[in-house]
């Protein structure tokens, strides 16, 4: 499972960085989205990979923390997803504005 996750994060990051360096604004948006997926998976993996372990305690009384998954990275991922979603939406608006004002979808606003 570790290998699968590592390869997945690596592929997403690699494609994201390549797209980020492309000259078209839409490619940059998609690149940033892919990168943020990769980062979300990465944060998730920092809580250590567990199978079949719940992050939320059930009931009350003494429990063994080793039986549960780390809840903090999951909370962090949730925050990161929300913020990433909002900023991507904002970037899309700026992209459209730039397209309308300059008549080009090149990141510099004109063809080289």
């Amino acid at each position: 499972m570790e290998l699968t996750l590592a390869i997945a994060i690596g592929c997403l990051t690699g494609s994201g960085v390549w797209l980020l360096l492309r000259p078209r604004t839409y490619q940059v948006v998609i690149g940033l989205s892919l990168l943020s997926y990769a980062v979300n998976l990465f944060i998730f993996s920092m809580g250590r990979l567990r199978v079949g372990a719940a992050p939320v305690l059930e009931g009350s009384g003494a429990v063994n923390p080793a039986d549960y998954a780390d809840p903090i990275p999951q909370a962090l991922v949730l925050t990161a997803i929300v913020i990433g979603f909002a900023t991507t939406a904002l970037f899309l608006v700026v992209l459209l504005a730039a397209r309308g004002l300059t008549g080009s979808d090149h990141v510099d606003g004109r063809e080289p």
Binding site: V28, S36, M46, V94, A98, L101, G109
Partner: protein, 546 residues
């Protein structure tokens, strides 16, 4: 917990509430919105000074007091905590002073140039204040995103193709930097299992040797995110064009944003990788020192090469950032104290310069035609002309003379010449490099790095002086037909007040230096910070081993 402890959260709540209330009123009610914003900003200014007094209550000689605010009264490190010490209080005051000045300036016409100016303004302040107050790494990320999201809006304020294009670059760079921030934070969490800064400082000396490389990688990735914000060479190419493209009040307020990067680097470097940090002590300080010096050099060349005042101001921000980063890299107590004085003086100066540019350019119009040609040749784009709106308000008499005097003062401040506070800031830094133990003690003189840094500081001042003189002569003396610009009182008064503040800093330099000395001393004894945040914890020297 007395009432005064609840003051700590108000610099975050007040702008948030004000920004939210401003959303409820429709865009046409300019004066109502402006009134609410002025009231909130004035209240924030008073609050910041109250917090400054609160933070300064500790014994100046030794025991620093760290005030904390636990949200929901959860005990740290499990709950989120806000921390106020002398450094964060100083930065809060700086931010609110800049906010007040730029807000007054924007009332002349800029606040009508686009929707939601006042709301974005308040949300930006909320993010900045939160970043200065938080004691938790992930919360820092959230406040960074708040201030960045608001700054994206302010960057585009006034619209126009030039601004939108520069804004596109600005947003893309900052989104990428935010992702690096997340990677760094999660790596640090993966190794240490905590995100609370004080708790981190306790755990870092105990990290197992096989995990230290991972922790160092996490800290380095996190550092890159802040260095992009602070504008260290070679991560700074976006900065001058973005700040130049933004409208005058927005870029004057943005002057504080690069200082947020500096603040976080100063705080984290001394707290996490100070003398107590075991094998990782002093991590990254070489990079900061060398990168800072490279930034000063790059900024100085940029200042000399700038054709337009906007670009000149952008590169001045780089020079000031570079100076501060190099000071953090040196890390001596006296140097850090000088850097704190310098940050106040230089931020106010650059902010006033950004406000000044718009007024000076009104006097420059026909003479600028020739410049336009050269700038086209270099591929620079001229901002499309603003449509002249109806200007209501009192017109300043003798505008050209006042503009000239203000411009001269800013030149002195940027170059670091006496009698204004730019000189004292640079003098404090250079004095600390030469006499780390204080003036008058026998010292062998600085090492070669110290000499190079001193030379760079002085030469960057010379570059700023040359560039300002060239622009000043071209604007105020050379034109055959002098155009007297229309300058409103509300536009020139904030600039005069900011320069007056620099003058006050000079007169009261003793009191301010005493404050920054105490702040630097507290930063070099992270134990008081840790004890303040985690009362009852064992001392930070790493006695407890698991």
């Amino acid at each position: 917990m007395g009432f005064s402890q609840h003051l700590l959260i108000l610099p975050i709540l007040l702008p948030m509430a004000a920004g939210a209330i401003l959303l409820l009123f429709e865009e046409r009610r300019h004066s109502l919105k402006a009134g609410i914003n002025i009231a909130a900003t004035a209240l924030l200014l008073g609050l910041a000074f109250a917090l400054l007094r609160l933070a300064d209550t500790g014994d100046a000689a030794g025991g620093a007091v760290t005030h904390t605010y636990r949200l929901g009264d959860w005990t740290p490190p499990f709950g989120i905590v806000l921390v106020l010490d002398r450094l964060s209080a100083l930065m809060l005051v700086l931010a609110s002073v800049l906010a007040a000045a730029t807000l007054v300036f924007s009332l002349a016409r800029w606040h009508k140039a686009g929707p939601h100016f006042h709301t974005l303004f308040q949300f930006l302040l909320m993010g900045v204040n939160g970043a200065f107050l938080t004691g938790d790494l992930f919360n820092l990320f959230v406040f960074f995103e708040v201030l960045l999201a608001a700054s994206y809006g302010l960057m585009l304020h006034g619209s126009g193709a030039f601004r939108v294009r520069a804004g596109l670059h600005y947003i893309a760079i900052n989104l990428a930097a935010s992702l690096l921030f997340l990677i760094g934070v999660s790596l640090i969490y993966g190794v240490t299992g905590t995100l609370n800064m004080a708790d981190l400082a306790m755990r870092i000396p105990e990290v197992a040797p096989e995990n230290q490389a991972l922790l160092a990688a996490g800290a380095a990735v996190l550092g890159i995110a802040f260095l992009v914000k602070a504008g260290m060479w070679p991560l700074c190419f976006w900065l001058p064009s973005a700040y130049m493209a933004a409208s005058a009040p927005a870029s004057a307020l943005f002057a504080i944003l690069s200082k947020v990067g500096f603040y976080v680097l100063l705080r984290l470097t001394l707290l996490l990788f100070g003398a107590d940090a075991g094998p990782l002590a002093g991590f990254g300080s070489q990079v900061l020192l060398i990168g800072g010096m490279a930034t000063i050099a790059f900024g100085a060349f940029g200042v000399l090469a700038s054709q337009s005042l906007g670009r000149l101001a952008g590169y001045s921000i780089l020079v000031s950032s570079g100076t501060l980063l190099a000071a953090v890299g040196l890390g001596d107590q006296a140097v850090v104290s000088g850097a704190m004085f310098y940050v106040v003086s230089s931020t106010i100066t650059v902010s006033a310069l950004f406000l000044m540019i718009e007024l000076v350019e009104r006097a420059q119009e026909p003479a600028a035609n020739l410049l336009t040609v050269t700038m086209e040749a270099y591929g620079d784009d001229i901002e499309p002309e603003e449509e002249d709106e109806e200007e209501v308000g009192v017109v300043m008499p003798g505008a050209l003379a006042i503009l000239g005097v203000c411009f001269g003062c800013l030149g002195l401040l940027l170059a670091g010449l006496p009698p204004l506070s730019g000189f004292i800031g640079k003098f404090a830094l250079i004095n600390a490099i030469f006499n780390p133990q204080g003036l008058g003690t026998a010292a062998g003189g600085p090492d070669s790095v110290g000499w190079i840094l001193t030379a760079l500081l002085i030469l960057s001042g010379l570059a700023a002086l040359l560039a300002m003189m060239r622009t000043g002569i071209r604007t105020f003396w050379a034109p055959l037909e002098v155009i007297v610009p229309r300058v409103l009182v509300v536009e020139i008064v904030p600039i005069i007040l900011l320069i007056g503040l620099c003058f006050l800093l000079t007169v009261q330099a003793g009191a301010v230096m005493r404050y920054t000395d105490a702040a630097a001393q507290a930063l070099h004894e992270p134990r008081s910070y840790i004890e303040g945040v985690l009362p009852g914890s064992e001392s930070a020297s790493g006695v407890s081993t698991q």
